[in-house]
């Protein structure tokens, strides 16, 4: 289970679009908490996702017009830490070498 924090402007449908990115992947939504955060809003989601889905979700959330920032508690590397999307290139699920090796197998 991994926690995601999505900061967004509370415009029509934005929260639904955020949730839809999870539901279209048939992910259960056991924890959804939306609340005001300073001048904006933030929704916290707990999702059972694999690493590939993490990358997809980051990108899809960021493509929503009124999403401001996406971050998560990363637990895959063993130690939990908060990872924020701070670069144009969002996090990838697997390394390039792993991926190429799988394609050649």
């Amino acid at each position: 289970m991994q926690s995601f924090y999505i900061r967004y402007r509370n415009t029509q449908g934005t929260l639904m679009r955020i949730l839809n990115a999870a539901s279209r992947r048939a992910l259960d939504l056991p924890v959804v908490q939306a609340e005001p955060a300073e001048h904006d809003h933030q929704v916290t989601l707990a999702l059972d996702v694999n690493q590939k889905q993490v990358g997809q979700l980051y990108r899809e959330w960021y493509a929503i017009a009124d999403v401001i920032q996406v971050s998560s508690d990363q637990v895959s590397s063993g130690a939990a830490h908060t990872a924020e999307w701070t670069a144009a290139h969002p996090p990838a699920g697997v390394t390039m070498e792993e991926s190429r090796a799988a394609a050649r197998a």
Binding site: Q12, M16, A65, H89, P90, V94
Partner: protein, 572 residues
Amino acid sequence: MHKGADIVLQCLRAEGVELVFGYPGGAIMPLYDALEGSGVRHILTRHEQGAVFAAEGYARVTGEVGVAMATSGPGATNLVTGIADAKMDSVPLVCITGQVRSALIGTDAFQETDVFGVTLSLTKWSRLVRTLDEIPEAIAEGFHWARSGRPGPVVIDIPTDMLKAKKEFSGPVKFTPHARPADAKADGGFTDTTFTTKIAALLQQASKPVALVGAGAKLSGAIPELRRLLDDLNVPTFATVHGLGAVPPQAPYYLGMVGMHGTRAANTALHETDLLFVFGARLDDRVTGDPTRFAPHAKIVHFEIDPAQLDRVRPCEISVVGNLADTIPAFQTELRQHSLPDFSGWRAVACGAERAELDPRGLAQPTIRFLDELFSRLPQDSVVIADVGQHQMWAAQRYRSSSPRGFITSGGLGAMGFALPAAVGVQLAKPDTCVLCVSGDGGFQMNIQELATVRRLGLPVKMVIIDNKYLGMVRQWQQLFYQRNYAETDLSDNPDFVEIAKAYKIHSFRLNEDAMREFPVSNETGDEIDRFLRSPEPELLVFDCAPEANVFPMVPAGAALSEMLLEEEPTQ
């Protein structure tokens, strides 16, 4: 004082809208009532799906925002397929729907549908207008999102009482998007010019580089920049179905279309490459084949405006996020400071005659000969619109356009019934251009009612039905992968399309395969095709195609690109 409907139309004019496609109904009647004298021309289609596909056709050929309007309930739900199509193919589209009166929303009123909810996952942005004051802002913001970044569909749902109500109106507004931290970083992806040196270094290490061109190259308007870069790179290059026309087909390094029905040369090169440049393509499964075995030796350099499209198949070595109109010149500037390795040996193999674009037996197919004959006689800068199915892939394989917007089809969603209404939109946008609509017998019947729109407007659209009396592509799969169990794909009881067209007062005629058995075709057949293409009136040509003609090459679903079929194999 202005009515809401007048405000909507004034805001549309402010966005540059001259043409809208639609179908009236109860909740949107006030908007129709205000059309006359508004400066916005309305095109009545005969079904809302026809309206949205026509708006898409207009948008695809011009690059401008297409606008469709419909009433609440069934009118709005009939737009849904077109909205999904626009999302998949990055088409700028604004749909304006009437909604039941504000007081009735949520009461399951007559013709009430939650179109905002229905389209939420299909739109880039949408708004259910709650007050009259919101209208100018909603339209300005909707057009902004439809045309910005990766273009896409927008829905603006307006309750009928908002369209009737009056208020003071000071004029349309401009929308300025809020800045967000990651935007600056995404924009900065290409200003950080280290990416150019990294790519140049990858090129130095590569021995089999290739380039793949997708729709993003066209949408960015960076075709001249892309062509200059490709000339400099001079590596084997291919295109997705939406990238066709971006690269001149006569370019010596060009290998044609890639993917499920791509050329043998393109698919083979993509499988062998060790460095893949992707320019504005999302690498969907029709392009990659089995994604786990896609370009197994390649490092990927992906130029893309939409970060959501990156790393979908597998992580890229270098992703360049930004408008190709900016990123390509930046890369080219760097590239010209380096001398590239000699790729001529690789180019000779990848582009060589041994990897001919189509199996020679395929070229003998009368339908392919017919399409070759048709396309070779088209005037320069014609636009071909293909529906969905076997004819679509034959057309994509055979039509060699140098025009970036010269081949239009529903590529991502694969929506049958697209071509005829889309051709209406294209012809209205390009009244002096030859517009050729190629459909199958299944797809043509899905929006056959738009013959009435063609006739009413006197549009000189040239319509071709490749009639094999089957849902041909499904039948082909049934033949190859379902032991010839042709379940519910037999259309042998098709109506007589020639007679149907006549009922719409559209001239029509039939050609059969016998006319294509001579090579070259007889003067009589050639003259008939020329007359058809040059007629100032709408025309329908029905080509009787062999029922079991198949499209090859074909990469079976789930197979790698290297496992393409070049001819029929025994049923397993």
